[in-house]
């Protein structure tokens, strides 16, 4: 029996991984809405990565057709400089998505690490870290960003993502901590300690996978949060207009092209707005699948 087992398990890990992705595929197939979410999300990522490469660095303006309504030539019309709105949305997507990705990464890594550490160690460390988190949670985000905007110009999406990420990990830390506190009372964690397994094993292999759906959901939600925050900042006009960002477009559409009163500028407003809406929708649709992806029972059924 053992002889037949040995060669079999050499590939056990890779089989497991294959099974996992097959399970993910099954979960996604269950609802068409999830597939739609994934397709839209993939489309946005493709747009952000490849899109700006296909377009010139400075979009050519056509002064003969400024602030045009949507047409076959310009699907969302043109801006007051005669540039194609769709091309602007594509160019702006890189900034928006890169910021969102950096924010999500920082939020999740910092939030999970602090939450796990706090919930697992408990005691003094927990108290200190959670007071810190509370303090951070009480800092009003938007005013702080406005203040920071006067110092930094946020020309780079990385800079923006870093700041938003550092402002955003509090909620994740709290959620992860409470999850850790409840999971550590479960029999399997106690058993792992009783068996003498290392702390890194307990955290990495036992705790983290059980929390994966929460973490993944939080990550996706923080992506939408990051999109709103940065677009909001740019829309308010407190940041320089040089950046390619949907927020800049919204600001210009409303305050320069007068989209609220001029019907011809409506396309200029709708372009970035629709992009934000679609991106958020895609994330909401994908979040729906997270619980089933990371729960082996729901995945296999």
């Amino acid at each position: 029996m053992s002889a037949t087992l040995v060669p079999e398990t050499a590939s056990a890990a890779s089989t497991m991984r294959r099974n996992f992705w097959r399970g993910v595929w099954r979960v996604m197939k269950r609802k068409p809405s999830r597939m739609a979410g994934v397709v839209i999300l993939a489309g946005f990522i493709l747009m952000a990565v490849v899109g700006p490469m296909l377009l010139p660095e400075h979009l050519p303006g056509d002064t003969s057709s400024i602030t045009q309504p949507p047409s076959w030539e310009h699907w969302f019309g043109t801006d007051p400089q005669g540039r194609d709105v769709l091309a602007l949305v594509v160019k702006g997507s890189r900034y928006v998505l890169l910021t969102a990705a950096v924010t999500a990464l920082i939020t999740v890594v910092a939030g999970t690490a602090i939450g796990l550490f706090s919930g697992f160690k408990r005691g003094r460390w927990d108290t200190v870290l959670m007071r810190l988190t509370d303090m951070k949670l009480t800092i009003p985000g938007l005013p702080l960003l406005l203040v920071l905007a006067t110092v930094w110009q946020f020309g780079s999406p990385l800079q923006m993502g870093l700041v938003l990420g550092l402002l955003g990990w509090g909620g994740v830390a709290r959620a992860v901590r409470s999850q850790t506190l409840s999971l550590r009372e479960r029999g399997f964690i106690e058993a792992a300690r009783g068996l003498g397994l290392s702390t890194s094993h307990i955290i990495g292999r036992e705790l983290l996978p059980s929390m994966a759906p929460y973490i993944a959901m939080n990550m996706l939600i923080s992506v939408t949060g990051a999109v709103y925050s940065q677009v909001g900042l740019f829309f308010l006009g407190v940041l320089p207009y040089e950046s390619d960002n949907w927020g800049v477009m919204l600001n210009l559409a409303v305050f320069q092209a007068g989209a609220m009163v001029t019907p011809t500028a409506l396309g200029y407003l709708l372009g970035p707005l629709l992009a934000i809406l679609l991106l958020t929708l895609a994330i909401v649709l994908v979040v729906d699948a997270m619980d089933e992806i990371f729960n082996p029972r729901l995945r296999e059924e």
Partner: protein, 336 residues
């Protein structure tokens, strides 16, 4: 030998406005479980039996007294140094549903402790797989079908077997089974009990069985010792069958009287003991702890606390001033 002397544990409940309330979980408990032996702690919930089991498994600290594992005193060691000793004592939890990580396959669950073991003992990697199959076979599961499964794909009985298999991966000297069958389907319980008994006989693993159901305690082995615990104190202690057949402490008698009689198969005992229900003074700290509920209490019982002792004519130890045999348990009709 795994021994405990005078183990005391007090829980402090904080958060109350007027200071801390103390709950005495254990009031100086002695026990000794010899190599290959079996012991059962029985009592109602809240009597301290689970706390004692967790202390023995190293999952809980104790305030006073001494635990010694194979002659090594635990109190003298630093927490880190205790770990290898306590690892010889593995806990089997009541709930096989939360005792296994739902996101890990059985293979992964067994692999982790085994690879640690392989590293410690310098065994090759192939040993891990062999041993995983071996422990599963030991607990009566087919490794071929079980290894790749997730816990939710197994029945309660199978999960509990996996939990036992996982405990066996570290070659324990004792298994502490805390109500290990109470959440398992009735028709499968006996199988788990038989497995624990079998492991005792084949591997010489000690079994400490914690339960509120006296009848199951017999199935770990009729050579085992029974400890009847009431409010943190051992009130009766002796060989399982002696105590079941001839209990002398009124609390033990109440416990045994409360076991349902299978009318039609059994006849009820002639002198069942029903404890008094006193809602207020049952937590009294004076005299015998059971006195407020004892139907046979005398004046002395409320003034003085009886300690575990041996008296003439009674084979088992007991903590009662007026020990008396009563016929409380149901007898099969075929025997009468």
């Amino acid at each position: 030998m795994i021994t405990g002397t005078g183990v005391v544990k007090t829980f402090k409940q904080r958060g109350k406005l007027l200071g801390a309330r103390e709950v005495r979980a254990l009031r100086g408990v002695d026990f000794a479980i010899p190599k290959g032996g079996a012991a059962s702690f029985i009592g109602e919930s809240g009597c301290g039996k689970t706390t004692l089991g967790r202390i023995i498994a190293g999952l809980e600290s104790y305030d006073e007294g001494e635990i010694a594992i194979d002659g090594v005193s635990m109190s003298a060691l630093k927490p880190k140094q205790r770990q290898p000793h306590f690892r010889k004592i593995q806990m089997i939890h009541q709930d096989p549903y939360s005792a296994l990580n739902p996101t890990r396959t059985i293979h992964q669950t067994l692999h982790a402790p085994l690879s640690l073991r392989a590293r410690q003992t310098g065994r090759p990697k192939s040993w891990i797989e062999e041993r995983a199959a071996e422990v599963l076979t030991l607990v009566g599961l087919d490794p071929g079908t079980v290894l790749s499964r997730y816990p939710h794909q197994l029945s309660g009985g199978m999960r509990q077997r996996v939990v036992i298999a996982r405990a066996l991966t570290v070659d324990p000297e004792m298994l502490v089974a805390d109500e290990a069958v109470s959440m398992i389907d009735v028709s499968l319980r006996l199988g788990i009990l038989a497995l624990l008994k079998d492991l005792r006989e084949r591997l010489g693993v000690r079994v400490l069985f914690i339960t509120h159901d006296v009848a199951t305690a017999r199935y770990i082995g009729d050579d085992g010792e029974l400890y009847v615990i009431y409010r943190g104190q051992v009130v009766e202690r002796g060989p399982v069958d002696t105590i079941i057949a001839d209990p002398v402490h009124p609390y033990t008698q109440s416990l045994l009287s409360a076991i349902p009689v299978l009318h039609g198969l059994e006849l009820p005992g002639e002198q069942p003991v029903v404890p008094l229900e006193s809602l207020d003074d049952s937590r009294s700290e004076d005299g015998c702890l059971f006195a407020p509920r004892c139907p046979f209490r005398q004046e002395r019982c409320t003034d003085e606390r009886p300690l575990l002792q041996v008296t003439e004519g009674v084979p088992q130890e007991h903590a009662c001033f007026y020990p008396e045999r009563r016929s409380v348990i149901a007898r099969p009709m075929s025997e009468v």
